[in-house]
Every structure is written in C-alpha cells, then in structure tokens.
C-alpha cells in the first residue's frame, strides 16, 4: 500500500523547472532514499509534501486519498513531518519548549507531561534527549535528534529527512541509521534525501532517482550498485575514481606554529595549532563542521585575529629567507609577495560580490591596478571570458550578476579566479559543497593540476571518502586542536572519524611522518 503518491507534480521558480511531471509512490513502512544531484529537485519535491511550497500542477495522495497541503500544519495533520537540512529550532528554548512551539496556543505548557512524552519516544527508538537542555548548548547531532523527536512528538507517521548525514561523523551516522531502522520496524515510512551513495545502499529499501527535476526511476536497493546509481543520477557513465598523482619534489611553503584564535563570542576556536604545508602536495583538513576549519584558513589568510605568540612563516620558491605573515592584513600579505589564493566557504558572502558580474569579480583582489583613480576593466574582462570558456561557466554573459548563476558555476568563477592568480599556496574550504558530480570532478582535477605544478594545496572537506582519495596528508581538527596528521594513502575512515570527535594522545612518531 502506498503511503504517498505523487501524480504529475510540477513546480517552477521563474524560468527554472524545479520539478516537472514527477510521478511515483512511497510504500508504507519502507525507507525510501531520494537520490539526485544538487538542483535535481529533491528538496523542492519534499517541501511540497511538508507544506512549504504548493505544486503548480499535479496532485499528492496520502494513503491513496488526494490531499491539499497548504502549509506545515496541514502536513502535520496528515502525519507528515520533515527534518530540514537547516534546523528549524529556537536557539534560546529548551528541547521541550521547541517540541511544543507553534502547537495549540491555548494549551498550558505542561513540562512534566512533555518530558514524559519525550522519554517514551526516546525509549522506543533509542534516542537520547535531555528535555531541559537549551538548543544553543547542543551539538549538531543533538539538534538533529531533537528535530526527529519533534517530528515524532507531533505524531508523524511519514518522516522526511533532508541530507541528515551531511553534518555527522561516520559514528553518528551509524547511530542515526540504527534509529531509522527502529522506526521502520515500528511501521513508520521514512524518506531520506542524500547524495552519498554508500549510505543509500546501507539504509534504504528502494531508491527513487531524480535528474534535473524529472523523475527517472525507482530501483530496489538490493539490485543497485554505486556505478548503476551514479549513471541513473547523472545520465551517463561517470568514472568515480579520484586521481592522486604521485608527490614529486615536495617543498616547504608554510610553517605554522602555535596558532591560537578567539572568536567574537570570546570562545577559543583555535588551540595551539602547528603544522607544515608543502608545495606539490594536497593537505586535507578534516573535522566536524565548526571545529576551527574556517578560522584556521582565515587566520592564515589574514582575516582572523591571531592571539599573541605563534608564527606563520612563508617560504617563497626562490627566496632563502622565510617571511613572517602572522598578523598581517590580506593586502599586506599580497604586498609581501606571498601568492596566496583562497577559496572561502562562503562563496557569495566572502569570495565574490553577488551583485557584480564575472568581469568585476575578477578585479576583486587587484582592482587597484587601474590607472590613477580609475579602475581598468580590460584585463578582468579578458580573464572573465577566458575562465568562462575554459571552465565552461554557464552564464548569459560576463556582466550578468554572479548571484544569478547556479552554485556550480559560481564556484567555477571563484576557483578560476584564484587559480588564475598563479598561487604558490591555494587554500580551499568545502570546494565541492553543493556541486554536482561532474563539477566536483572538475574541481578535483583543477586541484591536482595545481599540485602537479608545485602549488601547496590545502583542501578542507567534509566527505571523508573524498579526503581519503584525494589528499596526500590529512590534518584532523577536533575542538580547535590539531588531532594528528594522517597519511592519506594509509589512513582509515574510522580512524579519521574517531579523531574528529575524540582528542587522541599522540605518542612520539605516531601519525607524523
């Protein structure tokens, strides 16, 4: 019996067809993985189920009856609950308060009853939630658990999870999957959105595949392989092998010693970090998000205030003396002759100016080169045209605001500009986040090209499989501390995952080369 049936669902945003004529059904009591690349319309489709959007065409059936879901309230009434990728919790409320917020306003807040209900749900599915803990004190994984409990508390029989594992360590993911299996046993229907293939294979019963807003087909997980799923998802055969060229001629570029940072809230976000960066290799940085990755790169780039002590020494390819670049502004660092390129995590909020076209974005770091008081747009325009052509950036023109481009194209513009500056050190933060498979592989390829040229590449990533396949060495951050540097060729995923969550006492020689 079908829990949910989509019939000819279409949804457009302006000229973009987010979903066109999607029809399929989800069986009762199964775990269905909804698979597709970014922009394939997975989230849009699920948002129509949870009442965030309303379909332009087509209809949705719940338990074989046509329904009209006009808002989240309607969805809850039908027993549909969604855990969004970006949590929808009130930070200053406790877990219990978050559960009841938005429910019947006339009802008295009975903390005891809520706590009892929470306990019942937790016992049933093996969760662990403290009803009196404030959300701002919770870890990402705790928040996610709370979101799931919230959905169950409100009586959902159909759960939708939007990329729940993106923010979890391998261990936490395993725990989540156990819970999902418990729910399935209890007769709940689960839809999980993801684009991690091995997770799809390990958790789901069936896989529904979307591509560019269209429904492709549903396959039984038992018959699926990673290769087959990728092919269905992308529409052609893709080589999933990430190349890792041999490291030749490794040269010391950055010597980072005892860096400490305190963020604007007064929290010590980097603790006594030391490591070396070599030209000709890719250094990966792994860690649960928010464990200092962002601050570390920004500290090196001169964008984050570094506490007293410590040093960042740069060894230029042709210089004998190293230069100290700690505590300098980005402009100073450039004027020192350090060719440091940086692809920040926040592409449109830091790396690019969204309202400007490609041309004007090309001049972001060297607009001062123009004659006198005026800017010169000739060279940037040529560079923009070149990048547009070489990286196949899809844009109406080099003057179209980059905000209007898709995520992958925005990233191509940013990476293209940073590589065009012929760096000796190239730092990238989550360079492939939100990109489709093809663009991701283009980025890996570009990074490898830089590595072969002798550039020191730093790759902060979240997908451990990619980190282990691409990087020569992996620095693991945990709570703002460097928790070992592992060899990318030999490191194992469980070990990286463990170091992401627990500080490992280093014995001499272990982990280091």
């Amino acid at each position: 019996m079908a829990a949910i049936t989509f019939e000819h669902i279409s949804k457009r945003f302006g000229s973009v067809n987010a979903n066109s004529d999607v029809s399929f059904s989800v069986n009762k009591g199964e775990i269905l993985a909804l698979l597709g690349e970014n922009g394939s319309g997975k989230t849009t489709l699920m948002n129509m189920l949870s009442g965030i959007y309303y379909p332009d065409e087509g209809r949705i059936l719940v338990d074989d009856k046509p329904v009209s879901i006009r808002g989240p309230r309607d969805a809850y009434a039908l027993g549909i609950g969604m855990v969004h990728q970006h949590f929808k919790l009130v930070d200053v409320f406790t877990a219990a308060e978050n559960l009841v917020v938005g429910l019947d306003p006339d009802k008295k807040l009975d903390r005891k009853a809520i706590a009892a209900d929470i306990k019942e749900i937790c016992d049933k599915y093996q969760f662990d939630v403290n009803p009196d803990k404030k959300v701002y004190d919770m870890s990402v994984s705790e928040k996610q658990t709370l979101e799931i409990v919230k959905v169950l508390y409100r009586g959902a029989n159909i759960l939708i999870l939007d990329e729940p594992t993106a923010v979890l360590t391998p261990q936490e993911t395993e725990r989540l999957f156990r819970v999902l299996r418990n729910m399935k046993q209890d007769g709940k229907t689960v839809i999980i959105i993801t684009h991690k293939l091995h997770e799809v294979l390990s958790i789901s019963d069936r896989v529904a595949i979307l591509r560019k807003g269209e429904y492709i087909e549903t396959v039984d997980t038992a018959d699926a392989t990673e290769e087959k799923l990728t092919e269905l998802m992308v529409g052609k055969k893709v080589d999933l092998e990430i190349e890792r060229p041999e490291v030749k001629d490794k040269k010391l570029r950055l010597e980072i010693r005892n860096i400490n940072c305190i963020n604007s809230e007064g929290v010590k976000i980097l603790k006594d970090i030391s490591f070396d960066v070599y030209g000709g290799e890719i250094l990966g940085i792994a860690g649960i998000s928010g464990n200092g990755q962002k601050e570390l790169l920004e500290a090196i780039a001169g964008l984050e205030q570094i506490e007293e002590g410590g040093s960042i020494k740069y060894h230029a390819p042709d210089a004998k003396e190293a230069v100290e670049m700690k505590g300098m502004t980005p402009r100073h660092i450039r004027e020192l002759g350090v060719h440091l390129s940086f692809v920040p995590e926040d592409r449109l909020g830091m790396g690019l100016v969204g309202s400007m076209g490609m041309t004007e974005n090309m001049m972001l770091k060297d607009y001062s080169k123009g004659r006198g008081v005026f800017t010169s747009k000739k060279a940037p325009r040529e560079l923009a045209e070149k990048i547009k052509e070489e990286l196949e950036v899809v844009t109406p023109g080099v003057t179209t605001p980059v905000r209007r481009l898709s995520g992958g194209n925005v990233q191509k513009v940013l990476v293209g500009r940073e590589i065009a500056a012929s760096p000796t050190v190239l730092m990238t933060a989550y360079a492939v986040r939100g990109l489709d498979i093809n663009t991701s592989y283009t980025i890996y390829h570009l990074l490898n090209e830089q590595k072969k040229k002798g550039v020191a590449v730093i790759y902060v990533g979240e997908d451990l499989d990619v980190l282990l396949a691409l990087c020569d060495r992996i620095l693991v951050l945990c709570g703002g501390q460097a928790n070992g540097i592992l060899d990318g060729h030999t490191a194992d995923k469980q070990e990286v995952g463990r170091r992401m969550s627990v500080i490992v006492e280093e014995k001499d020689g272990e982990g280091h080369e």
């Binding site: 000819h8 279409s10 457009r12 945003f13 302006g14 000229s15 309303y54 332009d56 065409e57 209809r59 046509p66 329904v67 009209s68 006009r70 780039a301 964008l303 502004t329 980005p330 402009r331 450039r334 940086f342 920040p344 926040d346 449109l348 909020g349 830091m350 790396g351 690019l352 100016v353 969204g354 309202s355 400007m356 004007e360 001049m363 972001l364 770091k365 607009y367 001062s368 123009g370 008081v373 005026f374 800017t375 209007r404």
Partner: protein, 360 residues
C-alpha cells in the same frame, strides 16, 4: 479540494522594455485613481485638474523655475546620499547636514559680506561642505570603530542641528522680535547667486549637473566607487579583498555629508537668502526615496526629483484653486508614490490566481 486562491511567484529577469512598460502602467493607473479621488472630493473633471496641476508647476516662467529649484534641491541631496546608501550606510541625517551647511553659509553672508562675492562664494562653498562632512563624520566614526547603529545616530544629529539652527536664528534675529533672520544682505545681495539667463537658479542648475556627472563617474568608474560597491555588498568580501572597511566607510560618509552640506549652501545662497529651521524642510528624507527609487543612478535621480517637484507644486496649485487644504495635495502625492513603489513588486514577482493546468 480547496486550492489557495492567490499565489506569489518569483519572476525571472525581465527585459528592460517590459520593466519600463510596467512602470508606465503604474503611473497611468496612479493618475486614474488620483482622478477618481479628486472627482469624488471636489466634483471637478480630473482632466481639468491635471491641466491645473501642469499649469501650477510649469504655467509661467516663475513657476517653472520654482519647480526646477525644488528639483535641484532634491537632486543635490539625493546625489549626496547615493554613495552612503550604496554602501548600505543608512544616512538618515541629510536634514541636519543641510542645516549646518546652511548655517555656515548664512554666517559667511552676515559676517564676511565685505570680502567680495568671488571670495565669499568660495568660502561658503568650502565651509558648508566641511560643516556637512563634520556632521556626518561623527556617526561614521562611531560606526566604523564601535559598530554603532548609524540610523539612530544620524537621525539624532538632525535634532542637534535643528536646535543649533534655532540658536543662530535667535542670535541673528532681524528685525528684533520677528524670530526670523529675515532676508540677509537685502540691499547689496552679497553672497546671492547672480541672475544668469534670467534666473537666479541657473548657477544651482550647473552645480547639480556637475555633481551628477561627478557622482556617476565616481560610483561607476573609480576605485573608490568599486570599494563602495564591495563594502555595500558584504564587509567580509571587502576584508577578503584587502579593502579597509573603516577607511572606506569614513571617506564615503564624509563625501556624502559634504554634498548634503553643499545643498544647504545652495538653499541659502541660491534660493531663500535666509536660514530657518525649515530650510531643509523634510527634503533630506524625501531625497532618500529619490535615491532608492533611482537605484543611485544620477540621471534617474534627477528625473524622479523632477516628478516629485512637479507633484509638489502642481498639487499645491490644485489645493488653492479647488479650495482644498494642503493635505489634499499630499494625498495625491501619496497615491502616485504608492503606485510607483508598488510596481516594483510586479517587476520582481507575479501573481497566479487559482491553479492552472489542474485537470489534465
């Protein structure tokens, strides 16, 4: 099933032609609605009313120049506000900056009448710009150093400026007991803009045109303009690019305040030849609408200023001709602005009624 009746959908990028069309429709609709309102209140034929409005604004040479004078003031202030607003610095303090510019100009006219017109003009020009810049500098400094809220700060600077003006009005009172400064240098016209091409507003016109061209080039083609655009979009991007946000904020707001101060100079030397607390007369706020509607484009700012000036003088004409009070004309202006601003919604979004393509 019950369907939602109305849905709002985001529009794709629209062609220039279509945007102009939507705005034109908005203006026509505004005129129609105004017509209906006017007829309902007064019983006059709306066509006659519009003819009266046009006559009120441009009917005689004097009236035409007076409309132009109003347009020039609004344009000058809007040009001054443009760089600050483009940088997302909410300068609500143009009123105060105009007033201090005006006080300084009036002071020059009163105390330095003897040094001759050429020197007097240069001094008035420079000192009024300086006064406006100083008035804007304080909020800018606090914003850059301590990240204080510039909206409140600039707004409060207005009240300080108004009190300061009252003080000087009392000090320069002429004749004693009138509680006004009266027309300064009535006999010798020292510090008055001379009449050129039959109008005392000609010099103001040239001044505004020069400022408009300057601002257009400054924002579009200079490094400073580029920095303003980057800082306005995102301070993080600016820091990433190596732009000193503090420096750009202070420099830009100084420029903004200086031009608003010049508007005060223009008001005193070029039009009223006196100073009072109503010298700015709310134009510092109206100009904010001008700057935003024009999206900081100089030529568009002048056009919108012209529209507002036309509405202002046209509607006060119908008010007096049709024996309505001044507030009726404000209603007319309100209706027209409502439609113009409302048309932006239809440029960015479209409405879908009911559900299309449901039954297949």
């Amino acid at each position: 099933m019950n369907e939602p009746l109305l849905r709002i959908v985001k529009n794709e990028a629209m062609s220039f032609k279509k945007k102009v069309l939507i705005r034109a429709v908005a203006v026509i609709l505004a005129l129609l609605v105004c017509g209906i309102v006017i007829t309902l209140i007064t019983g006059y034929n709306p066509v006659t009313v519009y003819v009266t409005m046009t006559q009120g604004a441009f009917g005689t040479k004097t009236r035409a120049w007076s409309t132009v004078k109003e347009m020039l003031m609004l344009s000058c202030i809007a040009i001054g506000l443009a760089p600050a607003f483009k940088m997302k610095f909410w300068n609500i303090g143009a009123e105060g900056q105009i007033l201090v510019g005006g006080i300084v100009s009036a002071g020059c006219m009163i105390y330095l009448a003897k040094i001759g017109n050429a020197g007097l003009f240069i001094l008035m020009f420079l000192l009024s710009a300086l006064a406006g810049a100083v008035w804007a500098f304080l909020p800018a400094l606090f914003k850059a150093k301590f990240n204080t809220n510039e909206t409140l700060f600039t707004l409060m600077m207005n009240y300080v400026a108004i009190q300061l003006t009252s003080y000087f009005v009392a000090k320069w009172e002429n004749p004693i007991g009138s509680n006004t400064v009266g027309v300064i240098n009535q006999s010798g016209h020292e510090g008055w803009f001379p009449k050129i091409c039959g109008s005392q507003y000609f010099i103001s016109l040239i001044m505004v045109l020069v400022l408009a061209v300057f601002m257009h080039i400054y924002l579009k083609y200079t490094k400073h303009g580029y920095e303003i655009a980057v800082v306005g979009e995102s301070e993080n991007t600016a820091r990433y690019a190596g732009i000193s946000v503090t420096k750009v904020v202070i420099r830009t707001v100084l420029l903004s305040g200086a031009i608003c101060g010049m508007a005060g100079f223009m008001a005193v030397a070029g039009a009223s030849h006196t100073i009072s607390t109503s010298t700015a007369g709310g134009r510092g706020f109206t100009a904010i609408i001008v700057a935003w509607l024009a999206k900081f484009d100089s030529a568009t700012m002048i056009l919108i200023s012209l529209l507002l000036a036309f509405l202002e003088s046209g509607s006060s004409e119908i008010a007096s001709k049709c024996h309505l009070n001044d507030f009726a004309s404000k209603i007319v202006i309100g209706i027209i602005l409502f439609f113009i601003l409302g048309s932006e919604f239809f440029i960015n979004y479209k409405l879908i009624v009911g559900k299309k393509g449901e039954k297949k």
